[in-house]
């Protein structure tokens, strides 16, 4: 391992310990009821996990996205991906920052807009990003995972900054990594449950039907993880848009299969609110649709390939390892 890889591993291990300690079922339920987990945020902030990948932080975008993937493994109910991206773009330092989409005088779908010190607003195919200080929340809402998605006012005199590469694509890459992380968590729950649940006198893991179902899940988890990593290999490359397009589509397809199969393995227990499985599966489902669903990104990638022409399609696909 290189020194860079070792440093990252230490960060990820520390994050894993904190996330595992804090993100238990109780905290996830509280967050779903709208209680912001301030003590968890303090831990994140004290360890500098809100500035990974920021300018002069000694870490880069790959490290940031690796942490975002790690947060997906624990369904971390914070605007962590958003705060990280805001600090990467603007480096505000301490504070809770979030990002949403500009829509008719508002910024909508803002994770935890209600507690954010600043809210940034992005638009499709635009590098211009609105910066709203002390945002005023007009509506509190949630996505299908019960994660806060608020609407805030976009004042007429809001300043805009320029962000490159395309900010929405960077957000889509974050969702790819969050999904890939949750996919791993869902598989782990499926394996644990299958080994523990006894039916017909033996663990259901011993039944071939269950084994094959989880084998399919494992294959999709591996694909999701590799694909999410590839999306963020190089943000400065002119391929970044298309690598994210491939990943958002591929990872979205993967988590659809993963969530469905692992819920089936869990039977009725996984359908209860008391079980923790839905904290991961609902997030994975919701993230598929945030910042472009599979069809949208397939279209972006496909239109580009068609433009290159049939005899150049392979060259494009095989250009980078």
């Amino acid at each position: 391992m290189s020194e860079k890889q070792e440093t990252l591993q230490i960060i990820l291990d520390t994050a894993e310990k904190i996330f595992a300690d804090y993100c238990d079922k109780t905290l996830l339920d509280e967050a779903e009821r709208g209680d912001f987990p301030h003590r968890l945020w303090q831990q994140v902030s004290q360890n500098g996990f809100d500035r990974l990948g920021a300018p002069n932080s000694g870490t880069d975008a790959q490290d940031m996205y690796a942490l975002i993937k790690q947060s997906g493994r624990f369904a971390v109910p914070l605007p962590l991906a958003e705060t990280l991206l805001v600090n990467r773009w603007c480096d505000y330092g301490e504070g809770i920052f979030s990002i949403g989409v500009i829509e008719e005088g508002q910024i909508v779908d803002v994770p935890w807009g209600r507690v954010a010190d600043k809210v940034l607003g992005v638009s499709q195919n635009s590098g211009l990003v609105a910066v709203v200080d002390s945002p005023q929340v007009v509506q509190q809402s949630t996505n299908l995972a019960g994660d806060p998605r608020d609407s805030v006012v976009l004042p007429a005199d809001t300043p805009f900054i320029e962000v490159a590469p395309d900010p929405m694509t960077q957000l889509a890459a974050a969702r790819c990594n969050q999904m890939a992380g949750s996919a791993e968590a869902i598989l782990a729950l499926g394996l644990q449950f299958a080994n523990e649940r006894i039916q017909f006198g033996r663990p259901i893991a011993k039944f071939q039907a269950i084994q094959h179902s989880l084998a399919v899940v494992a294959a999709e988890v591996a694909a999701a993880s590799r694909s999410a990593d590839a999306a963020v290999d190089d943000l400065s490359s002119d391929r970044f848009l298309f690598e994210v397009a491939a990943a958002k589509s591929r990872v979205g397809e993967a988590v659809t299969i993963i969530a469905e199969q692992v819920h089936q393995v869990h039977g009725a227990m996984g359908f209860t609110h008391e079980h923790r499985l839905h904290h991961y599966s609902r997030r994975a489902w919701a993230w598929r649709d945030e910042y472009g669903n599979e069809f949208y990104w397939q279209g972006v990638l496909g239109a580009h390939l068609a433009g290159l022409g049939a005899d150049h399609a392979w060259q494009f696909i095989a250009t980078r390892g």
Partner: protein, 376 residues
Amino acid sequence: MLQFDRVSLDADTEALRDKVRTFLAANKAHFPRPNSDFSSGHDPEFSRKLGEQGWIGMSWPKAYGGSEQSFFERYVVTEELLSAGAPVSAHWIADRQSGPLLLRYGTEAQRQAYLPAITRGESYFSIGMSEPDTGSDLASVRTMAVKEGDQYRINGTKIWTTDAHRNHFIVCLVRTEPAGENRHAGLSQIIVDLQNDGVQIKPIANMSGSEDFNEVVFEDVMVPADRVVGEPGKGWVQVTSELAYERSGPERFLSAFRVFVELVRACGQQPSPHEAAAIGRIASHIMTLRRMSISVAGMLQKDKDVVVEAALVKELGNNFEKVLPEIARLAAPMAARNSAFRRSFEQTLLLSPSFTLRGGTREILRGVIARGLGLR
């Protein structure tokens, strides 16, 4: 748990890619075929040309005709050949499977005898595993090889043997001892000369109409005892490792690639949203699969155990090879109905049932993965 590391191909490997593309451009007469299936384009002249380039047995020692290149370099050559639809089936099994088997388990004399001709693209091998009553349950093979002095007498039947009627040798999994309590014991691998040892070869037409696979009958076929590969009786370990190591290559996800190329052509440069999405969806899968395959090449390069990872690539890749033509079928414009697209689609579809059978069925692979997950 499941680690598919980021691996990037280095500049030397990419330079080799350019060389392969130049070579392919200069040899266009040999392809493209309507499909990019590794087992259905037998072209000895093309194989010999690849041999001249040093692209067969690439990772093998120079002493045996190899060029001691990395798994990454081999990866790049194979994916370039397959994606272009080049005819590679003549030398494919010898290069991928039989040669590496001899390198791992063969005697020095066997390596000297067989490997250089393989690397020249002149000597082709078939796989002798399945039998009429033996498919996925490989340990149930009944073909017997009985030692008589310095020879073995072989009796039995192998089936689904691709290109046995065109190739030179077959590596057969046989019983050298009767089946006992441990059904994995008493198996051996033995090389039989398909053209000179007196085997009977009966081509079997497949549902696509071509005759690529065969039934191979052994009636008192006598071969010298030094044709046994590895230790007699230890064939099971050899054959399972042989299968495990050869499951993650680009032939496990590129068999239907030409359908994709023809789809892109048929859709034109300004596709409808549905057409664009179909193209993008297919591309997203291939981009991911090749990175996973390259990750496994990286593990092979570091001599790591790849059994589960290779099975995962094959599981995903083979399933996708079957889905690809279906996505393309529904997206292709009406104008494509009488075109290169249709030829490519139909040929690939007719071959597609074999994709999830050869090299270990989907069901066997899922069992391998489940074992890796600690479920059995």
